[in-house]
């Protein structure tokens, strides 16, 4: 049903109906921020990436061959935008980080640093489902929609991701 609605919204957006595109943006914005946040280190940057992904989608909307697959399509765009931003970020930040380092300076920071490392050691496709699941309490159905996967696949990925995180945190002596 949601696929059909997306299809109609895409078709309307193509025919001079900005509000339809606005509705598509509202539907997917949070998912896009979550996807971008699973790649980028900063929430603000993730929002920028999501907005840029929406602009890129707008420019290329006429090329979308299956409008009912808008969700996975814009998800992929967002992933690429975020990766590009990360590349740029690394280019500019590496020399600074080499000098300053990133040493945690209190217990809370240390916990967060370990958690961050636990997430970073995950393969991207597993990290992404974790962010989608916990960023905005998305249902498996919603996650499946934006990733173009089945709910069973999402369930499997979340289980594997959590298992890896738990093992890592325990190994690092993470205090529950």
């Amino acid at each position: 049903m949601r696929d059909l609605e997306d299809q109609i919204l895409v078709q309307r957006a193509l025919q001079a109906d900005p509000e339809s595109f606005g509705e598509l943006c509202r539907r997917y914005y949070d998912s896009l921020v979550a996807i971008a946040n699973s790649i980028l280190p900063d929430h603000q940057l993730a929002e920028d990436a999501a907005q840029e992904a929406l602009a890129a989608a707008c420019r290329d909307l006429a090329k979308l061959k299956k409008p009912e697959r808008f969700g996975p399509w814009i998800g992929a765009i967002c992933r690429n935008v975020a990766r590009d931003m990360l590349r740029q970020l690394r280019k500019h930040q590496e020399p600074v980080e080499a000098h300053t380092g990133n040493q945690p300076d209190c217990e809370e920071d240390e916990r967060e640093a370990i958690l961050d490392q636990a997430l970073q050691q995950l393969p991207q496709h597993l990290r992404e489902v974790i962010y989608l699941r916990f960023y905005n309490e998305m249902s498996y159905e919603q996650i499946a929609k934006v990733l173009g996967a089945t709910e069973q696949m999402i369930d499997g990925r979340i289980r594997r991701a959590k298992k890896k995180i738990a093992v890592y945190l325990k190994r690092k002596g993470f205090r529950r």
Partner: protein, 353 residues
């Protein structure tokens, strides 16, 4: 079991670390940050040429790089563009009148347009270009059909000089030059068809709407009350072609819309072209006047026929070369526009003679 146990402590940890309150996406703010994209959405992405901006370049690559390239095909494409790029539509900012005009044009099935097309050298007032004794000052008739395509006939002193036909159902473009019994033809690919569609009267209007304009006030043409608009240099025209091929520098136009009819009555425009292959390396000003003769009349299918008359031969690069100034040929060859071998071979042959 173990996984369930882990979930008990891990879920709250992850939620605390990752969770954020849902944010309301502000579409208006996004549109402010991305004005070009917002404009595309308002104009309709299917009809917007921005997303098509790269397509002319792709077409040029197709024409110039293909092993089966024929220069006649290149000329047909360019002339078809020139026909379609004429100041056919009307500019505006979506005001009450223009919004209706845009819709009416979109709803109009057929049109017959008459007018003139004059090619002049820039910097030399009113000096009409002559090629082999032919003054490039044409009387025009255009037939436009939403279903069948577009035809432009150019005549001098009642004698037909060129006729270009863009047949939409057949996806063909044909240029015939009766005085020389020459023709050029090409079949359009899907991509080229989409580009052509973009350059339909409706597409042209959408492009013009993207440009700057000002109101000229009310006037009367042949007793018909009209409102005038002036428009200048929509970027989309200017960036339509690679400059070495076709350098559209500026466009100025005026359109008068019938108040009652809500349709263009008189449209005139001036294109300024820099030195490029398509202007035979001259700086050229094209002044065109289009007067809409009839709307929604029945047009015979045969008008859009693309059959080439008997006895015509296809024109090629050798037909164009004599008109290119010698000094421009080397530059054109260096840019890869025309084969260097052909230029220099011809120069050597000339010396022997």
């Amino acid at each position: 079991m173990k996984q369930e146990n882990d979930n008990q402590w891990l879920d709250p940890v992850l939620e605390q670390y990752i969770h954020r309150e849902p944010e309301q996406f502000d579409f208006d703010k996004w549109a402010e940050n991305y004005p070009e994209e917002a404009r595309m959405l308002r104009n309709g992405i299917e009809h917007s040429s921005r997303s098509e901006k790269t397509k002319p370049y792709k077409i040029w690559r197709f024409i110039m790089e293909s092993k089966v390239t024929r220069y006649s095909a290149a000329a047909v494409i360019v002339l078809a563009m020139a026909v379609l790029l004429s100041p056919f539509g009307t500019p505006g900012n979506g005001g009450v009148v223009l919004a209706d005009v845009q819709q009416k044009i979109a709803d109009t099935e057929t049109m017959i347009i008459r007018g003139t097309k004059t090619f002049m050298r820039t910097g030399k007032d009113d000096e009409v270009i002559e090629i082999n004794g032919l003054r490039c000052e044409f009387d025009l008739v255009k037939y436009s059909s939403k279903q069948l395509g577009l035809v432009e006939e150019g005549s001098v002193d009642g004698k037909l000089i060129y006729r270009i036909t863009f047949n939409r159902p057949k996806r063909q473009a044909v240029l015939v030059l009766p005085p020389w019994k020459k023709y050029g033809a090409m079949a359009a690919t899907d991509e080229q068809m989409r580009l052509m569609e973009n350059l339909s009267p409706e597409g042209i209007i959408n492009m013009l709407l993207a440009g700057d304009h000002k109101k000229l006030g009310r006037d009367k043409i042949d007793g018909v009350e009209v409102e005038g608009f002036e428009f200048q240099q929509p970027d989309l025209f200017v960036e339509l072609f690679p400059k070495p091929i076709f350098d559209i520098q500026t466009l100025e136009g005026r359109a008068w819309i019938g108040i009652e009819e809500q349709l263009p009555i008189w449209v005139e425009g001036d294109f300024f072209f820099g030195k490029s292959l398509l202007t035979l390396f001259n700086e050229v000003r094209l002044h065109e006047v289009n007067v809409v003769d009839k709307y929604d009349v029945e047009l015979d299918d045969r008008i859009f026929d693309t059959d080439v008359p008997e006895g015509y031969t296809e024109f090629g690069l050798s037909d164009i070369l004599p008109f290119i100034p010698t000094e421009a040929k080397a530059g054109a060859a260096a840019m890869g526009i025309i084969p260097a071998g052909l230029v220099f071979w011809r120069r050597r042959r000339k010396k022997k003679l």
